[in-house]
């Protein structure tokens, strides 16, 4: 009964959210100063997905992996390579005689294929890498991401990846509408949450808390680690495909280690081990870095007084100081390991009103 009620409320809220997004999309023109908000919502939802996928690995399974940007890159490239319309290929692959892929698949199949390819690579990489522990695992996955990046820029693979030139002209539904990335990310995050709440999720948490104890309880360590790594990369690949759509072009050099660090920062600021925390913090992170602090980059004159320091680049300095403050003083992140849930809020409200009825102090 209670579960049913929760489900109904969530569905209603999701419908309301989509409705609001649609309304905003219709009413906000690209010239208005709120146009940035749409960008933030699009990019934020994409980062939310990759942050949750990283959290699945770092927060729930305790595998410290830094390969996320690499898997995003595989996803982005897979999507771009297979969805560029056949008549555009001659122009995109102009240095490689139109490339070797001569067909195009529909966008949504491209997104799925992006996930599958990323997962496949993760499976292969996982065989040697997942035997390593903690920091060694981190540096090895980071290393693989860098090797991948070099590979994708390799001239010899040019007919497939267009070398170090960018891929473009593919369909970009996630850039056209804000609802597309929201729905795709939302569905993917829902799947991750279902997985976390399943027996697999419980096994992951057991591995995170104590590998030896988990093994003693009959959990196959290698098997579960491999599943966590592959699934996480699958969703990183999908978010890479979404990012490719959002950016409308793909270039391997942007998927560097700095990008992985950014995602890691989002995960930690949201709270390691909290899915909703990752989602909230990715929107906040993107909003701050792309939109809210923009005014710091411009020169301001109040009367005779010119505000000092404010010029291009100052936004990023302030932003990194904010991050340092959060890291130093709010170690648990926004949510810690708690989750934001509707029933929790409902309970709190009803609990409070009950207390108010009884006339008790809060």
């Amino acid at each position: 009964m209670k579960k049913k009620k929760e489900l109904v409320i969530s569905l209603v809220l999701i419908a309301v959210l989509i409705g609001i997004l649609r309304l905003m999309e219709i009413n906000i023109s690209p010239q208005s100063k709120w146009a940035m908000l749409m960008t933030v919502l699009k990019k934020g939802s994409i980062y939310a997905l990759v942050a949750v996928s990283m959290n699945l690995l770092n927060g729930f399974t305790g595998l410290f992996s830094l390969g996320q940007a690499g898997f995003m890159m595989i996803g982005a490239y897979t999507y771009a390579i297979f969805t560029i319309p056949a008549d555009q290929r001659e122009m995109v692959y102009m240095y490689y005689n139109g490339g070797i892929v001569k067909f195009a698949i529909p966008a949504i199949c491209g997104v799925l294929l992006a996930g599958v390819f990323a997962a496949f690579f993760a499976f292969l990489i996982g065989i040697p890498v997942l035997r390593l522990k903690s920091d060694y695992l981190a540096i090895a996955t980071l290393g693989f991401a860098e090797i991948m990046r070099a590979l994708f820029q390799w001239d010899t693979l040019g007919p497939l990846t267009n070398g170090s030139n960018m891929l473009r002209s593919y369909p970009t539904p996630a850039s056209a509408s804000v609802i597309y990335p929201f729905v795709v990310s939302g569905v993917c995050i829902a799947v991750i949450v279902l997985m976390i709440n399943s027996t697999y999720g419980r096994a992951f948490k057991a591995i995170r808390d104590d590998e030896i104890a988990a093994e003693a309880m009959g959990i196959n360590l290698a098997h579960h680690k491999r599943i966590a790594f592959t699934v996480s990369s699958f969703f990183a690949g999908i978010s890479g495909a979404l990012l490719a759509m959002f950016q409308t072009n793909v270039q391997a050099k942007s998927f560097n280690s700095a990008m992985t660090y950014e995602i890691l920062l989002i995960v930690v600021i949201g709270g390691i081990g909290s899915v909703t925390g990752s989602v909230i913090s990715s929107f906040l992170f993107i909003a701050c870095s792309e939109w809210l602090l923009r005014f710091l980059d411009e020169q301001h004159v109040i009367g005779e007084f010119t505000v000092p320091l404010m010029r291009s680049g100052f936004r990023k300095v302030v932003f990194s100081i904010i991050i340092m403050v959060i890291v130093l003083f709010f170690r648990q992140g926004i949510m810690g390991t708690r989750e934001f849930s509707i029933s929790g809020i409902l309970n709190k409200i009803s609990g409070r009103s009950r207390k108010a009825q009884k006339g008790e102090p809060k």
Binding site: F144, E146, A258
Partner: protein, 300 residues
């Protein structure tokens, strides 16, 4: 002889860049040995040292700016530890690592703000930056000096760790952090000392590195930093000789890739950076704790 003059520049460059990586790698390995922290900001401290040299040498004579850069870099390393890492000493390891990433982000953005994103031309240091000819191969004098200077500094460092009181404290702290505290070792000063030594060597490394590769950009510290860390892990993190040997191997190997590039028909030059990681993954596959990881060599 022709073979030599054709390939010697690559070998020389390899040995030289290996020495520069070694100087950075020592900072990583010492900090890791004591705090179990990957100090992601170390590569950016290296970059900041280069940038300070650019700005200071514009207004001061070179013999004043070099010592000043070294002192300031040491000061920055010390401050970063006190402000960003010390408050988190009892926090989980992940928090400290995130703090390090935060510092790295801050330093890069500060550099971006100050430079405006343009590559700054590193000043030519007299004598060091002069062109010389070795066995018919023309190169800068810094290429020849680097390995010798590196080895001298490493020998001095090892002597310091072996023979002095603070060195003994460092060894104790790296062996067992908690117990060494109970034994009355002032852990904070030991850690500060580690950062001071690390930043000092990074400053020297930046002097040598940027004399060869003269464009200083805000993100230039990332790759050498990452490779130096890879070198430290390669050699077995926590071990100073391991880090130095690892750094030389990685420096030489990445230039061997460039050398091999002359002879093969397909272009493999963009695997120069990736090759270090490939080596690391191969060594970790066979020895999961690096080359000298298991044997507890004089670990700091």
């Amino acid at each position: 002889m022709e073979w030599l003059s054709r390939n010697l520049p690559y070998l020389l460059a390899g040995i030289s860049v290996g020495g520069q990586y070694a100087l950075i790698a020592i900072g990583y390995t010492m900090v890791y040995g004591i705090l179990r922290l990957i100090n992601f900001a170390h590569g950016d401290i290296f970059m900041v040292a280069g940038l300070m040299m650019v700005y200071l040498s514009a207004s001061l004579p070179i013999y004043v700016s070099i010592p000043l850069v070294i002192v300031l870099t040491v000061l920055i390393g010390f401050t970063v530890e006190r402000v960003a890492y010390k408050p988190l000493r009892s926090a989980p390891r992940m928090s400290v690592m995130i703090s390090a990433i935060g510092v790295s982000y801050l330093l890069q953005n500060l550099a971006l703000y100050i430079t405006g994103g343009l590559a700054q031309q590193y000043p030519a240091i007299p004598w060091i930056s002069d062109q010389i000819t070795v066995f018919g191969a023309s190169t800068k004098r810094v290429t020849v000096i680097t390995p010798f200077l590196t080895i001298i500094l490493v020998v001095l460092l090892v002597a310091l760790i072996k023979n002095t009181k603070i060195g003994m404290a460092m060894r104790a702290a790296s062996k067992d952090f908690e117990t060494s505290q109970l034994m009355g070792i002032k852990i904070n000063s030991v850690i500060s000392m580690t950062f001071i030594i690390g930043s000092f060597l990074a400053a020297i490394g930046s002097l040598l590195f940027f004399s060869n590769y003269t464009g200083v950009t805000p993100t230039i510290g990332t790759m050498p930093g990452l490779k130096a860390f890879v070198a430290a892990v390669f050699g077995g993190i926590g071990s100073i000789p391991g880090a130095v040997i690892g750094a030389f191997i990685i420096g030489i190997c990445e230039n061997l890739v460039m050398m091999a590039n002359q002879y093969v028909s397909i272009d493999i030059s963009n695997f120069k950076d990736a090759f270090a990681f490939l080596l690391l993954i191969i060594i970790l596959f066979f020895k999961p704790t690096g080359l000298f990881g298991e044997k507890q060599t004089d670990k700091v």
